[in-house]
Each structure stands twice: as C-alpha cells, then as structure tokens.
C-alpha cells in the first residue's frame, strides 16, 4: 500500500482525513463494523476533486473544482504521455551502440496531486454484481492497475470475489466497442454520439419506452424511473432483472411473509450452527464476500468452538466443501428437506418462535403431509439426522440458509418461505438474520421479469442497460421473441453481448470503474462509486446518455450529468447520517472514504399466514437424471466469461478451466459406462448440448450439473465465443410462479456418450492425498482447541548450518488457514493482476502449464458419494532451506536475508532445475512468449495497459514464482524508511491476503512476535507443508518454509483420525478414471 504523501504528516492518513473539515460520518453500528484493532497505515483514497492541501491551501472550493476539472481534462495528455512513456521509440541506426533512445515526456500541466510513479488510490464501489462491495482502485500515472477491496467497507471488509477482482480486465477489454452502432437490416454503421442522441430522441418521442436493467441497490433505478417519467413514459416501465434469482426469491418470500420486500442481513458471529439447504452462500449467494467474511469470522476457534455448517445439497458446491456435515439429497428435494427439518423442529417441545409461527409451521406441514411422510427416503437422509439436527439447532444459536442457483426450481420462493418459518422457529431472526436493522436491499424488484414478459408486447421502445438477458435467460423463456417485436431496442452495454443482436442501437457505456454511481447494500448504508479513470474508449455513462436523450427531446431533467444527480440525491444521505457542515465537504469525504451510513431500523413484523405459498411440495422423482445449472463462481451468469483471468481460475471442485463440463456422480457414470473426458450429449425436450464428463465425487447419483456462464455466441468475444455450452438451452419454459424467474434446476435430461473424447482442461490431475500425512493436516475441533493453547516454534529443527534471520529486522512470512479457505480462486485472480501473470489458454492448461503463482490444490477424501474436501492454496513456500536455490547455476534464485526466496527473472537462463528441485512444484516456467498488447489468436493475450508497472514482465524461457508481492514490501519499507520507523504489521498485504474473502491468508513479519502471522505460526495448530511431524521429532524435508498452514479443523467425525487410518487411502473414482487404478500405498 502506498501512502500518497507521507511527508504531509507522521500521523498517517486516517488522522489527516479527519483534520480536513467538520466531516461527520454516520455512526456505523455494531455488529456491522469491524472494530479497528490496530492502527494500520492505509492508502489515502484520492478522489478526482481533491487537491493536496500543502500545495494549494488557499484555493477556494470553486477554484479547487476548476483545478480538478483541468486535471481531468488533462487526462488526454496523461494517456498520451503514458503511451509515449512506456513505448520505446524505434531503434536508432545500427551504428549507434546505445539502447534505442527513450523519450521522457512530462505533463504540460501536471495535476497537483500527481507524483510520477506514485500510485493514487480511489475508493469506489464494485459494479460486477449487485452486492455493492467497496473497492479501492490503485491507479498509476492515471491508469488503474489493481483493484483491491476497501478494508474499511463493512460489506466486503477488504475482500473481493473473483469476479470483482477481475474488473480491470473488463475495463481494459480490447473487445469493448469503440463507438455507438446503428443497425439497419444486415448493415451496421458506426454513428456519432450526437447522431445517436438525435435519433433516439426522435424514436422515443411520445412512445412507450421501457428500460430493462440489471440489479442495483442505489439511486440508479430511481433515476431511470424519473427519466422515464420525464420523457413521457411511465415509471412502471422499469424492469429490473438479475440472473441470480435468489435475490428475487428471498425478497419475494419476505414480502409475502412480512409485507416487506428485503433480504435479511446476516451476522454469523454468534452462530453455532448453520444449516444450508441447497444453499450456495459461499459460492454466489446474494453477497458472496459479505457472507464469506462473516462465515470466516464464525469459523474462528473462539473458546474452543466454532460454527458448524451442515449442508444438504445435490451438487458439490464450495459451500458444501466447507461443510462439517454434508448430506447429499435428491435433485429438487430442497423444499422437502426443509419441511422434514421443520417437522423435526415442530416435534420438539422447546422449539422457539412465536405461537403464530408455530401454528403456521403446523399448517404448512399439514398441507404437505403426504410429502413429509415418505420424504426421508425420497430425499435420501435418515430421520435421525433431522432429529439430531433439530435438537442442536434449538440448543444453539443457529440459522438456515436455503436455496441457491443450483436449486432454483419452481418451488424456489416456497423454499424461501419455509426457510423463513424455520428461521423463526429457531429464533434466527434478530440474532443471525437482521430484518429490523440494516437489512439488505434487494437489487431487483421481485416479479419484474414476470411483468416484463406480460408487458413487453406493449412497448414501443426498450432500453436494455448492462444486462444480457438474451444469454442469461433460457431460450424457452421467449425473451428474444418478445424483444424482436419491439420496434426500437437499444442495447447499452460495457462489453459486446448476445443481447446486442436484438437491438437497433448498440451503445457502449462506461465500465463501473469509469462511472459515477452509488449502491445501498444495506438499508441506510451507502457506498459511493466514482470513476477511477476517464473512459478508456469512446463510451458514455449510461445515465448521461439518457440525460442527453431527454435534452434532445426537449424534456431536460434538471441535472447536467449523472454525477450532479447523485450529488443531489446524496443530500438526503447527508441528512440521514446527520452530517453537519458544508455538503461539499461531506460529499468529498464520502468519495474519499467510499461509503457512509447509519443503519435504518424498523419495527418487527409478525409473520403472515403463508401456508398458501408452501403447499403441494413435490417429492423428487427418483431414477431420472436431472439437470442443475448453477451460476459459475468465476463467470457468474456469463458476465465474466470474456475475461481470460476468470476462465483460467479453475472451478474449485473440478479445477476445470476454459470449458463447460458435465459433473456427474462417479458411480452413476461408471454404471453408464462413461469415463472422464467422454464427450456427452445431454438432451432434454428443448435442446441438446455437448460437453465432456467430469465424474465429481459428492454429486447425487441422479444429478447432472452443467454450470452457467460459458457457451457464448462466437461473435461476442474471441475469448468466450463458442467456449463451452450454455445449459439453459435444456430448460423448458418454466418459472417460479411467485417471482417469474425461470427455473434453472431439475430439467429431466438424457445423457449419452457421443463416443468422442474431449480433454477437459482440469488443472489438477490427481484428486486425493495419496495417504500422505504432512501435506494437509486435519484436526477435530477438540484437538484444535487443545493445540491452540500450545505455543510452538516450527523453526526449531536440528541443523548443521548457522541460524538465519538473526541480524535482520524483518522476516516475511505467510500463514494460510485451511479451515477458512473455500477455494473461490479470488487469490489467483488478484495474484495474476498484481504480478502480471499471463493466462495461457486451454491447450497449455491441459499440458499442465498454468502460470498461477498460487495453486489451489483440492483433495477429496473418504466416501466417493460424500467426500471430505480440503483446499490448500499452494504458493511458493519461501523455504529457508530452499532446495531450489542451491541448484541454480547462475544465482537467479537466492535467499534474501529477510526470508524471501527471490527470483531474478533477468538472470534466469531457464535450466528449470529449480522447478524440478522444488518439492512443492510451485515454480512456473514461461514456455512461450506471452503477448500483452493485443487479443491475438491465442486466448490468453492481454491488454498491455492492464499491466502492473511495478512488476517486471517476464519473457520466454524464464522461471517465475510467488515472491510475497515484493514490490509492496519494497514500497512499504521505503515509506517506513522515510518516516524513520519500522514497517507495521498489516502495512504490507500481499495481493492474495488483501483479496481473500475468507481472511484465510495472513502476511507479516515473523520477527515481530506480536504480528498476526507470528502468532499464527506459533499457534499449535500450525504446521509446515512437508514438514513431517515435529512433535515426533520427525522434520520431513526440513525445507523450513516461511509459509505455514493452520490445520484444517472440522466438526466432521473422525476428521483427524483419517490421517492415521486407511481411510484416506482409497482413491476417488474421479482419480481412478483418470489413472486407471488406485495406485496408492496402503500405509504401513
């Protein structure tokens, strides 16, 4: 992290900010905000209007604004400057011995807040999904180079998900349209923005104009409604749509149950038991980072216990992988399962909840009597399980999460309703679920899609803004047909999408990092969005386009631009948080910090009788294969598919990149005579798709899982076009009646082999631990609680050589908590962005040549039908006795006195001996020249501008690997040196630590015994990978890594024992399929 102007005061940024004026932040209540445990020097979040006080202290606010305007207008120079600065001029004549002359081109007028080669950070809000996580965008020379989570932001708490982390690749995507497009018949012409406004103004005049847009919790939808009204249409013609149907279902259920359309905010810190019924709250859920942070905190071993996650699911999700108890249920049996749980609860006398709730529960159970009687067998879970669970849930503070994208069927809203009832019965509302204070705003209005389907035929014109329903809705939904009848369709997108094909006008709009805006993730909590860079192509902010159209229609709205609108609306926010003083100061301070809020409260509602919504639950039909089409964690509904970095982060469970795959239970596959990589034909009444098989342990025998996200049309993107398949083609027209959202789970399919083989680009070739004991160590909770009490010194190893690190101030170390890591892959994306790691594409991945500096090793153990999952992030272990260093003939990799195993790229000659010698196999070799400046024929080629200028770009024939983000250590040390102090704990955060939504990674100085990482390393639960069993005086390879792992702790029965028994020796079927036979040593 870079402090922009360290000389301005030794107090650090946080104080300086407060000195700036009478800015009052609304009190952010417990338990919402994480208390600042320690002062951590953070970045100074710059916003575009700011001026460094010491340089221009006297300028008035008005002048400041002008100055900033000028700075912005200079951005053109800035970009040219960059172009010329970074590009080397053509080599001079051959006679000249010198390197080609480079030009140094300064600004004409340098913005006052600009120091060359020092990063400016801008606080903003992520726009990749509707969750509204806070971001800090690091810009160098005016160019965003890294997106980080805003550590103070209460929603994301510093984390970002895979998708959010990859926002930069969206910003710099070379396929973004350069200009508006007008389509006439088969022709499409580039038109100017002025013509666009003119033509659209004519087209819209006096017509019934509608807007279909993606979810947002901020002022955007309100603006659209105002605009619709202003141009003479009706504000009811705003249709909001998110392909993540969970928003609509939960909001609808709460609307029905409490008459209040919202999503409860979760607080898991006190929870002891979490029950997931087909839930994917750690995968996609409704706010993945917020949930992951919450869950991770609940996973802390506090006074010897931690939250227990019980998951009932059909697919093998990341959430299920974290479960302490996992039950595989039949496809679409979620509602029945929940009813069985409800039954078990109501049968207990000590059940919580009001009498009203109990009565409703009884009624619901009575209405579904037929189902609950025979349910156990159909679901596949014993009655005893529910009874035990009910006891536990009542005894402990517990919560139920139900539903997810893989279980969204026509009973989805009913499922949520039942979940509300169950949560009432266990008293989750008010403790783990907050509906009365700071509830989460639904980004969509439930039922909008249903309304759209009904009203589309009546529209004269439709604006589709930042939404791609042509791809994300099943073809059977009839979206394309409905839209085709609308005379004027305008598609306003940041990137080319399938929906553009339906439109007459295709307008490129700003990426969220180029936009103004805001989100309100929780009621009363506002998160601001400001541009970190001027539009990188000739795009406009969608809202500004609308304002221009209105102006051309002579129906101007009273705002010069959307920023002005936001400012106007934020006056209300200022009032909400009781901000005193100048509004300008307030607004500037908010932009600087990124958010403000004072949680809104409301009274409790008693539950309405919702029996009618939860009747006629259906028993799943056994024996037929059912298709589930979950959202992909990385690609979401397909919006991430054109980003190579996301395609290349493997799916957590299968480690497959770049493809769609068919996940099936290994035994079902075996029975059908199918093997891994067999190209399958998956056929339903409405269509056929072909994808290769991956037998995935833990999937229900009747389930066929194909993730959404891939299968884009060829012309949409060179990267995602014709990559994989879209499973939605297999779904017949069916919707969840309460929300109108299409069903994406449970289509009956037939699966047959095509006889062809398609090599799925799975990064991991072997899937279990092969009975090895010092790789992933596992502990039961009680053991862990015991070990936690013990301090240990992992570096105490008999050694012939002199001790290291005696004379230095720092010894950098990293700790990875295997209990917390979910395997989401955000660290891989962050690492790729920070360290300029190239993407290599399917063929190379198939060979095993992925370049991730951090590998996510996923190990299955135990029952093939319901395996234990361990995920181990494996980055360079920075061994103190590194086997790789001694073997390098040219000192290209040597040991830094501060513990970093450094890699000098320009010294490397490519013998690759180091990589062979590395027992962790974490070194990566550049087999090819990676091209950075264009999307070439190869998918992995990336935009030159997205490169981090602080990190050397590696050439062909060079080894590379994790170096603990040394550029960050370097920067922090320079700052500390200038301030005559040591680097503080938490001042340097590696990209992976920073991004981790689960806080599984901790980096710091091992020489400081009080640093977080030193504490963790000394914790009895920690161990060194391949470090043997130090308690038994057996030290393994004695590589003495500076990376330590905190053992995987789980409530699972016999969890730690599996280490020392034969339990783990049996290879899973997925592995058997790929290797022919189980070839593991069966122990001694």
């Amino acid at each position: 992290m870079t402090i922009n102007n360290p000389e301005s005061g030794k107090q650090g940024a946080a104080f300086e900010m407060d000195e700036r004026g009478p800015v009052v932040f609304g009190p952010v209540h417990e338990p919402f905000e994480r208390p600042a445990e320690k002062m951590v020097e953070g970045p100074l979040y710059m916003e575009t209007e700011e001026v460094i006080p010491e340089l221009a202290p006297l300028a008035s606010a008005e002048e400041q604004k002008d100055e900033a305007r000028k700075a912005l207008s200079m951005n053109l120079d800035r970009r040219d400057f960059l172009k010329l600065f970074s590009a080397t001029a053509v080599a001079s004549s051959a006679a000249c011995v010198r390197r080609p002359a480079e030009k140094a081109i300064p600004y004409v007028n340098q913005p006052v807040d600009f120091v060359p080669s020092v990063a400016n950070n801008y606080a903003t809000t992520c726009g990749e999904c509707a969750a509204g996580c806070g971001l800090v965008v690091k810009t160098k020379e005016g160019r965003p180079v890294k997106v980080e989570g805003n550590p103070e932001h209460p929603i994301s708490q510093g984390g970002t998900c895979t998708l959010g982390q990859a926002a930069l690749q969206g910003l710099y995507h070379p396929e973004r349209r350069k200009s508006p497009l007008l389509k006439r018949g088969n022709r499409s012409d580039l038109i100017s923005w002025d013509d666009t406004y003119e033509m659209l103004a004519k087209d819209f005049a006096g017509k019934k104009v509608g807007i279909l847009t993606n979810g947002s919790t901020g002022h955007r939808h309100q603006f659209y409604r105002e605009w619709l009204k202003a141009i003479g249409s009706s504000d009811s013609r705003l249709y909001t749509y998110e392909s993540n149907a969970l928003y609509a279902a939960i909001a609808q259920a709460h609307s029905l149950a409490f008459g209040f359309e919202a999503l409860p905010r979760v607080d898991l810190r006190q929870a002891k038991t979490i029950v997931g019924i087909g839930s994917d709250f750690l995968d996609v859920g409704v706010s993945p980072v917020f949930f992951a942070k919450n869950f991770s905190e609940a996973r802390n071993l506090k006074s010897g216990s931690m939250v227990r996650l019980v998951q009932f699911e059909t697919a093998m999700t990341i959430t299920g992988g974290r479960a302490d108890e996992r039950h595989v249920i039949a496809p679409n049996a979620e509602l029945v399962t929940l009813l069985l749980l409800m039954k078990a609860l109501t049968e207990r006398a000590d059940v919580k909840g009001s009498a009203n709730t109990k009565a409703i529960a009884k009624k619901i159970l009575a209405a579904n009597d037929a189902v609950t009687l025979g349910g156990y067998e159909a679901v596949g879970v014993d009655k005893a399980v529910f009874e035990a669970l009910a006891t536990e849930m009542i005894k402990n503070q517990s919560v139920v999460f139900a539903g997810g994208s893989h279980s969204f069927d026509d009973q989805a809203t009913a499922l949520q309703m039942a979940a509300i009832v169950v949560n009432e019965l266990i008293g989750a509302y008010g403790s783990a679920l907050m509906l009365d204070r700071g509830w989460m705003i639904s980004p969509v209005k439930p039922g909008d899609l249903k309304r759209f389907a009904q009203e589309a035929s009546g529209l004269d014109a439709l604006l589709i803004i930042d939404s791609n329903p042509a791809f994300t809705l099943p073809a059977s939904f009839g979206f394309s047909e409905a839209v085709a009848k609308i005379p004027v369709v305008v598609s306003m997108q940041t990137q080319p999408v399938e929906t553009d094909d339906l439109a007459k006008y295709v307008l490129p709009v700003n990426h969220s990092l180029e936009s103004w805006g805001d989100e309100q993730p929780a009621a009363g909590f506002w998160s601001a969005r400001q541009p970190a860079v001027l539009a990188t192509t000739d795009s406009r902010q969608a809202e500004d386009v609308l304002l221009w159209i209105a102006a051309h229609m002579k129906r101007s709205m009273p705002y010069s631009d959307y920023r002005a609108y936001i400012r106007e609306r934020w006056k209300a926010v200022a009032a909400l948080v009781d901000a005193k003083g100048e509004f300008d100061n307030f607004f500037n301070a908010v932009l600087r910090r990124g958010f403000v809020g004072k949680l809104t409260t409301r009274g409790n509602d008693s539950m309405r009788d919702v029996t009618g919504s939860v009747k006629a639950a259906k028993l799943p039909s056994a024996g037929t294969l059912r298709l589930l089409a979950p959202l992909d964690v990385r690609l979401n509904d397909g919006r991430g598919a054109n980003k190579p970095v996301l395609q290349e982060v493997g799916d957590a469970m299968t480690t497959i990149t770049w493809d769609s795959w068919v996940a099936m239970n290994p035994q079902t596959a075996k029975k059908m005579g199918l093997r891994r990589n067999d190209m399958l034909k998956v056929e339903s009444a409405t269509g056929t798709v072909q994808a290769a098989l991956y037998p995935l342990p833990g999937v229900h025998p009747d389930a066929v899982i194909i993730h959404r996200g891939n299968g884009h049309a060829k012309h949409v993107s060179k990267i995602s076009g014709e990559n994989g398949v879209n499973p939605l083609a297999l779904f017949a027209k069916a919707t969840d009646s309460a929300t109108g959202m299409p069903v994406t789970s449970g289509a009956t399919v037939k699966v047959a082999s095509t006889g062809k083989i398609f090599q799925l680009a799975a990064m991991q070739k072997h899937n279990d631990l092969a009975n090895r004991r010092d790789i992933v160590k596992k502990l039961s909770v009680s053991e862990a609680a015991q070990k936690m009490m013990k301090r240990q010194n992992l570096d105490e190893v008999p050694d012939l050589y002199p001790a290291m690190y005696n004379t230095v101030d720092y010894r950098w170390g990293l700790s990875v908590d295997l209990t917390k890591c979910t395997g989401c892959g955000a660290c891989q994306v962050a690492c790729a962005q920070e360290n300029n790691i190239p993407q290599v594409g399917r063929e190379q991945i198939n060979l095993g040549r992925e370049m991730h500096w951090v590998r996510l090793d996923r190990y299955f153990e135990g029952d093939t039908n319901n395996p234990q999952v361990s995920i181990q992030p494996m980055m360079c272990q920075q061994c103190s006795h590194a086997p790789c260093e001694a073997v390098c003939p040219v000192f290209a990799t040597v040991h830094d006195p501060e513990g970093i195993n450094s890699m000098t790229y320009n010294r490397c000659i490519g013998t690759r001996y180091c990589a062979n010698a590395c027992p962790y196999k974490v070194r990566r070799f550049n087999w090819w020249t990676h091209r950075w400046n264009m999307i070439g024929d190869r998918l992995q080629d990336r935009n030159l501008r997205a490169l981090n200028p602080d990190v050397t770009v590696r050439t062909r024939g060079v080894m590379e690997k994790c170096n603990f983000c040394f550029q960050r250590i370097r920067d922090a040390k320079h700052v500390a040196k200038v301030q005559d102090r040591k680097v503080m704990d938490g001042e340097v955060r590696t990209a992976c630590e920073q991004v981790c939504p689960s806080d599984a990674i901790v980096f710091g100085n091992l020489k400081d015994p009080n640093s977080r990482v030193a504490q963790l390393r000394a914790d009895g639960r920690s161990y060194l990978a391949l470090g043997g069993d130090p308690e038994m005086k057996e030290y393994g390879l004695k590589t003495l890594p500076n990376v330590s792992y905190v053992s995987h702790v789980s409530h699972r029965e016999g969890f730690s024992d599996s280490l020392h028994s034969e339990h783990g020796a049996h290879g899973t079927d997925a592995q058997q399929d790929s290797h022919g036979k189980s070839e593991e040593h069966k122990g001694h």
Binding site: C888, G910, W928, H1075
Partner: protein, 457 residues
C-alpha cells in the same frame, strides 16, 4: 629380454604388423557402399533435428511435450544417456590401459571417438533445453562480467559444466594424442594436399625412440588422470538428481549406480558399433572374436552391478519407510510408467544374463541384439529416473502425466544423427583401429622364427 606377449599365445593372429597399415587404412580409400547409405540417413536425421531445434529456439520451449511437474524429460534423458555412452571410450582407453588389458588396443580408438561424439551430443542437450541457449552459454560459465556476479559453484549444474567440459577436453586430448602417430603413418602413405593436412595434424611426428618414450610416459599419466575423471563425470551427472529432494532422485547410491550404468551402456554401444564397422571396413582379422568376447564380459559385469543397484534402490526405498520414496517406487513398478521400468529391467539386467553362456557370448548376432537392447534399456533407465521421479512427487495436487511428443522424438533421433555423422566421418578419415597400438599386441617382428614373415622379404 623380449617376451612373447601373453596374448599372442592365446589369440590366434592371422595377420602380422606388416598387414596393419595396408588393411586398416583401407577405409581411407574405398568404404563399403553401406557407409554412404548410413551417412545419408544420419545426416538427414541431423538436419531435420537442426530445423526443429531452430524452430524451438524461435517459438519457445512450449513446443516440447513436457510440462509441469516435469521440467526435464527427454532432453535431459538424452543428455544423461549420451554422457553415459561417452564413458566407455575413456574407460577402455584409460582404466583398461592401466590394467594392461590388451584387448582394449583393438577397440580403444573407435571407443574414444565414440566418447567424444557422445559427449558432444550430450553437451548439446543442456544448451537446447534452455530455449535461450545464448544466455545459458554465456552465464553458465564463470566469466568476468559487468554485473559482478558469478556462477553458483554450489549448483550441480555448474559442476556439470565443469565435469563435462573437463571430460570432453581430456577425452579429446587423449584421443588425439593417441591419433598423432597414426596420423603420421597416414601422412607417410599419402601425397600432396592430403599429406600436408595429415602432416599438420600429426604435428610432424617422427616416431623416434625419444618421442615414443615421452609419449608413453605422458599417455600413462593421462590415463591415470582420466581414470578418476571417468568415475567422476557420471557421479557429477548423478548429483544433478541426487542433490535435489525429489523422491527417487535423492539417494546416495546414485553415483556408483550411474557410473556402472554408464559403463554398461558405453560398452554395449562400443560392441554395437564395432560389429557393423568391422563388417563395413573388413576388419574381422584385427578385431578378433576374443576381443569382442572381452568386451561382452565387461558389459556383463557392469550389467550385474546395475542389477544390484536397481535392487538396492528398491530395497532402500522400502527399508527407509519414507512414504514418498516408496510410493514412487511402487508406482514405477506397477504404475502408469511401469512399461518403461520393466523395459529397463529386462534390457539391462535380464537379457544380459544370457551372456553367462559362452555360446551366447561368442555368437555375434545374439550379442549384437542384446547390446542394442541394453542401449534401449539404458535410455529408458534415464527416462524412468527423470520422468517417473518428477511426474508424481510430493504433493498429489501437482501431479501430472507425460508422454513424449513429436519434438522429443525428432530431436532424440537427431542426436543419434549427430553422433553417427561424426562417427562415420571419423571412420572415413581416421584409422578406426589404433595402428600403433594394435601393432603392440600383435606378434612382435622377431627374427627368431615364430613371428611370421616380414613384408617385402
């Protein structure tokens, strides 16, 4: 004072030293047509491989088929294989010289030539496998530079650089110093330009008693120096593996095991080269069955050592109780790479057992086939060590799979092309059998009766 050689009593020579020059140097005039065919094949293989190497230098190493967790595969297999082949020459010249094994005099010249060309083939692989050979060639040597940074003398690869270049230099000197008198012989038999060339190459050797005397002394010292060198080179190469922590690599038995294997492959290669060369240049009367049998005996000896090494390696893997080590060995024997393992075992250990029978030993066709098989087996031994040692090591999450692809095959073939091009050129332009040394073991030209007639009288 003049003893009849012990050998000349047991070996039945049909030729005298007067026949030596005329009949051995026949290659300089008129080789068998098969020579040209062989040369054409070898040259084609070499040229194709040069094209492939050029392409991979331009495109990048990605064209090869190996990938993490294997960072070495067929490239280093070939390197170790050729270094191993290169052992026989200097072993035969130096160690057997010191042991006064006379049969060596018939084969040492071609064996030394083989050594030099094999080491050249070997040295090519570390260079091309880096992809950017110019950088490697420049930096892997301890040269003064503006960076003020030198090579890492603790790296086995730097040891390799030293060992291989020393071995190559010493072998070359040894071979060439042995050639000098023979080059003088050729000079004396030729005229004009050819005479000039051979004259320059022979340094003006005259064959005076003084020269022979210093020559013999120096040759002896060279042999004494080369003896530990022979044993060290493959030890150093084995440390490339043994100095890492990889299961299957990190073992103390590697140096003797590698040396024995190298001698095995070298002797087998000598035999399999001698048979066609003997035919092609009609040298049956000089390279006698007794000499061939001696070569086979040495091969058999080293084969049993190798057999023992394989067994000990397995035993130690089991006895150590190291999960990683034993899992690897188990996998070698029954895992996906067991084909290579069993090929190696059968070719290197089982088939040579047939040589315990004197009939088999003396049957040239059978022995030739077994020698070829031993060479195949030795190639697979290195392949087995490298590939199976890397493919599935410590962390199952990093495991991979490897099968050689087009580039591997073409470049391997090309290395054989390179070898045979040089070897055949050697056979064409140099005496295949050391003229002066074979004269030493032939019946001495004595006036007292039993030594046969002297030419011209």
């Amino acid at each position: 004072m003049i003893d009849a050689s012990k050998y000349s009593n047991t070996v039945k020579w049909e030729k005298t030293i007067s026949d030596v020059n005329d009949e051995i140097l026949v290659n300089l005039r008129n080789p068998h047509p098969s020579f040209y065919v062989a040369f054409a094949i070898a040259a084609t293989a070499l040229l194709v491989a040069i094209g492939f190497v050029a392409a991979h230098t331009i495109l990048g190493l990605g064209v090869w088929n190996f990938a993490p967790p294997l960072f070495w595969a067929v490239d280093i297999t070939n390197f170790v294989f050729w270094v191993g082949i290169g052992h026989a020459g200097t072993l035969i010249s130096a160690i057997l010289f010191l042991f006064r094994a006379k049969w060596r005099n018939t084969v040492n010249r071609s064996a030394e030539a083989m050594t030099i060309f094999a080491v050249m083939c070997a040295a090519v692989f570390p260079l091309i496998h880096m992809g950017r050979m110019w950088v490697g060639a420049y930096w892997a040597l301890p040269l003064p530079n503006t960076n003020n940074i030198w090579v890492n003398f603790r790296s086995p690869l730097v040891w390799d650089v030293f060992a291989i270049s020393t071995y190559f230099t010493v072998s070359l000197l040894f071979w060439y110093i042995g050639l000098v008198p023979d080059l003088a012989t050729i000079r004396d038999r030729s005229t004009g330009f050819k005479r000039l060339v051979y004259g320059v190459m022979s340094f003006g050797w005259r064959g005076t008693a003084k020269q022979w005397y210093h020559y013999e002394a120096g040759y002896g010292f060279l042999a004494a120096l080369a003896t530990p060198l022979v044993l060290s080179v493959h030890s150093v190469v084995s440390w490339d593996f043994a100095m890492s922590l990889q299961p299957g690599w990190h073992t103390t038995i590697f140096p003797p095991y590698f040396v024995a294997g190298a001698i095995l492959s070298g002797c087998a290669m000598v035999y399999s080269l001698l048979i066609p060369v003997r035919k092609m240049f009609r040298l049956e009367k000089f390279i006698l069955p007794e000499h061939l049998e001696a070569c086979i005996k040495l091969t058999l000896l080293t084969s049993t050592i190798v057999f023992y090494a394989y067994a000990v390696e397995f035993f130690v893997a089991w006895y150590s109780g190291n999960t990683y080590e034993w899992a690897l060995f188990e996998k070698r024997a029954v895992g996906p790479y067991s084909f290579y393992f069993w090929t190696m075992v059968f070719c290197n250990c089982i088939f040579p057992l047939a040589w315990w029978s004197k009939r088999v030993r003396n049957s040239i066709p059978i022995s030739f086939v077994i020698c070829i098989l031993v060479n195949v087996g030795m190639w697979f031994e290195r392949y087995n060590i490298i590939v199976s040692g890397l493919v599935e090591d410590f962390l199952p999450g990093s495991w991979g799979h490897f099968e050689p692809g087009l580039w591997e095959i073409v470049i391997t073939t090309g290395s054989f092309g390179l070898f045979f091009v040089f070897f055949l050129l050697f056979c064409k332009f140099f005496p295949i059998i050391s003229l002066s040394e074979i004269k030493l073991i032939m019946p001495k030209p004595l006036s007292r009766g039993h030594a046969g007639s002297v030419k011209g009288h």
